[in-house]
């Protein structure tokens, strides 16, 4: 099949997913339990992205939940800074700064 046609199909399914509840299905049509659960979408999805990004090494994709993985202490420090400051830039600064420092020291 023509690659452009495939790319177009990829675009249509992606857009349809994003349109789903925003445009096609009114959210009040969802069951009550589903609507309650939606309040926890943010911590659920974002944590599912965060944790593997911290525990698996970047290049090799190796599981490394201990020494030798500089991302772990950097992420923990960043979480502490996020808790105290509620600032995105301070969190990134603490996380990237400590990561670079630890990588440089290693």
């Amino acid at each position: 099949m023509n690659l452009w046609l495939i790319a177009f199909g990829m675009g249509i399914v992606t857009y349809s997913i994003r349109l789903s509840v925003l445009v096609f299905v009114h959210h009040s049509a969802l069951p009550g339990a589903a609507r309650d659960a939606l309040r926890y979408v943010t911590p659920a999805v974002l944590t599912a992205i965060i944790v593997p990004a911290v525990l698996y090494l970047d290049g090799s994709g190796e599981f490394s939940p201990g020494p030798g993985n500089e991302r772990m202490p950097a992420a923990l420090l960043a979480a502490g800074v996020a808790w105290l400051t509620r600032s995105v830039w301070a969190t990134i600064g603490a996380g990237m700064g400590s990561l670079w420092l630890l990588q440089w020291a290693a």
Binding site: A7, M10, I17, P43, T47, V88, I92, M96
Partner: protein, 241 residues
């Protein structure tokens, strides 16, 4: 507190997206370079960033195209990889349902991980949200423009940022800054702990199920905890949700 003007909401949306761009830009560069390396034409590699506008699914799609995977399989894989966006669509729907159709179609097109993460923070803020859709538009467009430019640089110049800089780490760091303040009640903590644990086990699961399945398990855990301790987590419930 009077509602913020359209332009100040739009500008605040753009500003909220800036920290995420730090991590997204190297990702866009990497995608552009990877797609061309895999043998995708420069035109198609660039067009995918506008037509699909979903980083992970573009990587997987380019890999499958290069591997002569049948088109229908590529499209179905894309459906799975991006299915988590349905949760975003449902989560934001109550806040945009009063907007006319054109607005909702435009905002849906811009509904990525990064636009969702920043827009939902805006909608959780107390005070008037009369013009908050301009924030959503600003944060979504900022990401869109950055993604197109980063793709172009990756396509034509190759990966310009060395891996050793670890700039991609800025993305999970930003998500940490967004999630931590939300962990104020037990259901939210349960959602995060369960989703994070399952995502660790399922890191190698294919086709985007490595995010979708942990997220759904996290939602189930949150609902379970909320039903065991009624009243927990109700305090920050948005009016319309």
């Amino acid at each position: 507190m009077p509602p913020s003007s359209r332009t100040s909401e739009f500008a605040a949306g753009v500003r909220a997206q800036l920290p995420l761009l730090l991590g997204v830009t190297p990702f866009g560069l990497a995608y552009g370079a990877y797609a061309v390396d895999a043998g995708i034409s420069t035109g198609l590699a660039q067009a995918m960033s506008a037509v699909v506008f979903g980083g992970a699914s573009q990587f997987v799609g380019a890999r499958q195209m290069a591997g002569d995977v049948p088109g229908i399989v590529i499209v179905l894989t894309t459906l799975l990889v991006n299915s988590r966006h349905m949760l975003y669509s449902a989560s934001l729907a109550p806040f945009v349902e009063h907007l006319d159709r054109r607005w909702r179609w435009a905002l849906a097109y811009l509904l990525t991980d990064e636009a969702y993460a920043t827009a939902v923070v805006r909608y959780r803020q107390p005070g008037p949200a009369t013009n908050a859709h301009w924030f959503f538009l600003g944060t979504g467009l900022a990401l869109w423009v950055d993604w197109q430019i980063a793709t172009a640089f990756g396509v034509f110049l190759g990966k310009a940022v060395p891996d050793e800089w670890s700039l991609g780490f800025a993305l999970p760091l930003t998500f940490i800054a967004i999630v931590i303040p939300l962990l104020r009640d037990r259901p939210a903590v349960a959602a995060a702990v369960v989703a994070g644990a399952i995502a660790t086990i399922g890191f190698r699961w294919d086709y985007g199920t490595n995010v979708l399945v942990p997220a759904l398990a996290g939602l189930a855990a949150a609902m379970l905890i909320a039903s065991l301790a009624p009243g927990q987590g109700r305090d920050d419930a948005p009016e319309a949700a």
